[in-house]
Amino acid sequence: MIRFLFKGLLRDRNRSLLPALVVTIGVMLTVFLHCYITGVIGDMVDTNARFTSGHIKVLTKAYAENMDQSPIDLALEGVSELTEKLKKEFPTVTWVPRIHFGGLLDVPDINGETMKQGVTMGFAADIFSENSTEIERLNINKGLVRGSLPKLPGEILISDDFATKMNVNPGDVVTLLSSTMYGSMSVYNFTVTGTIKFGVGLMDKGTILVDISDARLALDMFDAASEILGYFGNSPYDDLLAEDAVNRFKTAFPEIEDEFSPTMLRLKEQGFFSSYLDMVEYFVAIVVSVFVVIMSIVLWNTGLIGGLRRYGEVGVRLAIGENKGHVYRSMISESILVGFVGSVFGTIIGLLLSYWLQTKGIDVGSLMKDTTMMMQSVFYAKITPAAWYIGFFPGLFSTVLGTMLSGIGIYKRQTAQLFKELEV
């Protein structure tokens, strides 16, 4: 039966080519969109996890309420003891302390007076310890543009764009003007050893990367940190795992009435992620549904036109005794074949486009200059196992639905009228 239908479709290309083309285009777009969004959102989640949110994060309740402002006066104290407790409770999680601070970076002239100034975002991580995973996690080696990594206390990296704007070169001394954890003024000299491209527009604008020991000295934060980030190995973010960790934390560290007591947040609860990821999922579902509806309407229309073309053929088949239901079902079977072929071609083309975008990427750095979101500057697609079959759902569904709607007319044919039509 399938062979017979297939032969029929191949011999009469007029009834199969257009529907197959429509399905190919629709499936290609669905597959490409799926890979593109998976890649972009996946990278955004990964970038945020690496730089700001971790997979899970421990911070004070007061800091959590004002996280966007990086208020170091609300930072965690007793970080060493807290980290030991976290390692005991969550042995498979890697815990790293981080300090985020804001301030002014002042570049002196030969007299030690202000030559240039710029607002800076300070980022402190453990980059000096031998067994630290931060250099790899933050891609510091790969991002280095000029100079070398800091090795000694008082040495920092500065984002390359910021260095260019401030006319700062490796070897120059700069001064940070900021506030300590207790509100005092902090004026601290650093030596720039190199410049770095983070690949995140917001950070490339004006970030200095400091070892956490230097930040603690400059900001009077002995055994303190803005937050302690937790990572579940090298795997991508798993919200169920994170939710389980948060629940276990609440049991191990019961809540007390103190704004400086520690609390834990998972990635999805932080910043814009709380609703963004769900919104993206709904968006993708809506877009795929819209594709299905549009394709179905087009194929319905195509089916109606095809029905007109095959009016005589259907009439003969009914006249010679073929059952209406059988005619209807054979047309649906044809549409499944067309849908399958269109889906195969659409999936192949969609995957090829996605592979190209996965390899080359699109540089949107110029659009991200003024963004306040932690987003990567280059968008890559990502081919997932689901991309190989996701196109078949709209591809097959739309052809079948279109044919079912257009084929209803078969049931309206009157046997008594058939011979009269044949005479005509």
């Binding site: 001064t175 005092s184 004026v187 601290y188």
Partner: protein, 244 residues
């Protein structure tokens, strides 16, 4: 009927005639508060969310254009100096051995974590130069009858577009102040306490500043000693003095 109407109109006119003009009150306030120069030592108690800190300093100020402050304690702040000349502000840190210019939006940042901004600390212009003032009523504060003044900025380059002052109508010193943004949002509150008379002027010994947008109990500014119209060597108001 006619007599009643005339009596009513006269009483309403008299009611308004009881209030001085805003300019009259502000001129008297400026006369009291402004001086050729002053030298004072002070304590700033900053009530943060975690703890309270006390910062001691000594200041020299001439008119509204020049001022020099040296921070005396605690140890972290000791030796830090600030110099204001016209609308420019410099900071010297002995630990970093750097002179840093503070300008632009940095002037709106908090000084030492207090509820005062650098802009607040620099401000010493006569209010009549910058604001239109109107007396809108009378209120009693801690037993002192005060004119309620509403000030609206004349120029755009002011930190607070709207101000409300409660001015002691005998001593011509503000006892309370509210500072508003152009949108009408309340930004800061100031209250003045322990008013004493010194060299013919009424001056507060304690001022409490509260940044309404920040949590916490505000900042107390306590003037320990103050002298007016003294001889201040000119070299104090120079960048060279910052490094001495």
């Amino acid at each position: 009927m006619k007599t009643l109407l005339i009596l009513f109109l006269v009483s309403v006119t008299n009611l308004h005639a009881q209030y001085p003009t805003g300019k009259e009150v502000m001129d008297k306030v400026d006369q009291n508060m402004s001086s050729k120069n002053r030298i004072f030592t002070s304590k700033m108690i900053i009530h943060g969310r975690r703890s309270s800190r006390t910062i001691e300093s000594k200041s020299w100020a001439e008119g509204d254009k020049k001022s020099f402050t040296e921070y005396l304690s605690p140890a972290r702040e000791e030796g830090t100096k600030m110099l204001k000349l016209e609308d420019q502000l410099w900071l010297y840190s002995p630990s970093a051995d750097r002179t840093i210019k503070i300008s632009g939006h940095m002037l709106r940042q908090s000084v030492m974590g207090s509820d005062l901004s650098y802009e607040d600390m620099m401000e010493d212009s006569k209010l009549t130069d910058q604001y239109y003032a109107v007396v809108t009523g009378v209120e009693n504060i801690d037993g002192r009858e005060c004119w309620i003044m509403e000030l609206t900025a004349k120029i755009s380059d002011v930190a607070y577009h709207l101000r409300k002052l409660w001015v002691d109508n005998t001593r011509y010193i503000p006892l309370k102040e509210e500072l508003y943004a152009k949108s009408g949002k309340l930004l800061k509150k100031t209250e003045l306490f322990d008013i004493i008379q010194l060299q013919g002027r009424w001056f507060p010994k304690r001022i409490v500043f509260k940044d309404v947008l920040k949590k916490g109990d505000g900042t107390e500014f306590i003037i320990e000693t103050i002298q007016f119209d003294q001889e201040i060597p000119e070299h104090i108001f120079s960048k060279a003095a910052l490094r001495k």
